[in-house]
Amino acid sequence: MRVVVAQASQRGVWDWDFALEILPDIVRGLWQTVQATLLGITIGMILGLVLALLRRSGVRLISWPTAAVIEFIRGTPLLVQLFFIFFVLPSFGITIGAFASLVIGLGIHYAAYTSESYRAGIENVVRGQWEASVALNLPPATTWTRIILPQAIPTVIPALGNYLVAMFKDAPLGAGISAGGVLLVANSIRSQTLRGVEPYTVMGILFLVVSVPAALFVRYLERKYGYERT
């Protein structure tokens, strides 16, 4: 990151030149936050599906612990989970970089949420289609991969869209473990220049510029495709 050298503390409450000067760095930080989000949601979507399937397992030794893990992840803060991944796992011989820890933490945390959406989606399809598949004498594996999931997953997409937006809003937490991102950049500008107003305000505005349209777009998709489901 480029070091911003400024004798800031003598200036007024708000300094436009300074704000413009730091803008490119903050945009770069925001891009890292977006990258963490995109990688995180990928893990969240895949792991969530796995958790949903384990949760639906007929074997209680599998379904119950899965349910408990999901409940635990949902009931505890992401930030502490990130600390756990970054600070505790190394003592068990698993060392992961800060950025990777952030991505994995986001992925696991949101997998607990997406799994519930998958489960609801699957439940809906199974109710009508399972018996039809049995009547056609399809093997269970085929039923899952060709009948159930292809119908269930599209119904979950609006929920996944919402989680994508939500994850973007959580991704700056990576700063807590010094993982790159918009907040880490703003923090370091502040510590180098002793001015917090401009970096944090620029960060806030840029953040809104991304997250509000994203949320509106997801809601638009929801409305557009939501009614097709019957």
């Binding site: 992401l78 600070f87 997250s211």
Partner: protein, 229 residues
């Protein structure tokens, strides 16, 4: 395992966590009601104000609001000595909660059938009585479950105040890790125990909140709930 002192520190942090949660939830609830009802106003202007608040409060995210409230707002207002980390945390989390809560309130009110409003008009109730005695009592029942979930999210969100150096549960856990010698390699079981205990305490808190709102749901619903008119 944790020493007595370590546990003591975590519990003291928990007390801060609970305080931040309670005050943020109170502020968030007030904002939810104000902006939720405003979002249903006949006035376009009021609806636009409510919409803007909801989008900004949610879109800015809890963490960005928090950092901004802690490090930018006090200076912009020229009152850095008034807004300390505790107040900044309560303001930011409360505002963020209000954005989600306003939608819970609006959704709940919209779910009350139109006929209820029409019957209130046929009985000549004024707008205030209509809302207070007819619409809200029914809407509240629909609001309780999502509102309970929102409370859990806010409680979890309080952990962010550790990043502005407020000594909550998360902050204390971090602090203990550092005291245990940077933690990572010297005393691995201790680091695991510290964060493990913190996670368990958070989990207990969220379960208590869930339990509480399940109880509330039973109370506000009462005998009439479930049976339809």
């Amino acid at each position: 395992m944790l020493s007595g002192n370590q546990l003591q520190a975590l519990l003291e942090g928990t007390w801060i966590t609970v305080q931040v949660f309670v005050f943020a939830a109170i502020l968030g609830t007030v904002l939810s009601l104000i902006f939720g009802v405003m979002g249903l106003s006949e006035s376009r202007l009021l609806r636009a104000i409510s919409r803007t608040y909801v989008e900004v409060a949610r879109g800015a995210s809890a963490i960005v609001l928090l950092i901004w409230a802690a490090f930018a707002l006090p200076i912009l207002l020229g009152i850095p000595q008034v807004i300390g980390p505790l107040l900044a945390g309560i303001i930011a989390l409360g505002i963020n909660m209000g954005g989600y809560g306003a939608e819970v309130v609006r959704g709940g009110i919209l779910s009350v059938p139109r006929g209820q409003t029409e019957a209130s008009i046929a009985l000549n109730l004024n707008a205030g009585d209509r809302l207070r005695h007819v619409i809200l009592p029914q809407a509240v029942v629909l609001m309780v479950p999502p509102y309970g979930n929102l409370n859990i999210e806010v409680m979890k969100g309080t952990s962010l105040v550790a990043l502005i150096a407020l000594a909550d549960l998360t902050f204390e856990a971090q602090n203990l890790r550092v005291q245990a010698g940077g933690g990572v390699f010297e005393d691995p079981p201790s680091t695991a125990a510290i964060f493990g205990t913190a996670l368990v305490i958070y989990f207990i808190l969220s379960q208590l909140i869930a339990l509480f709102y399940r109880w509330v749901e039973g109370r506000v619903g009462g005998r009439w709930h479930g049976a339809r008119t």
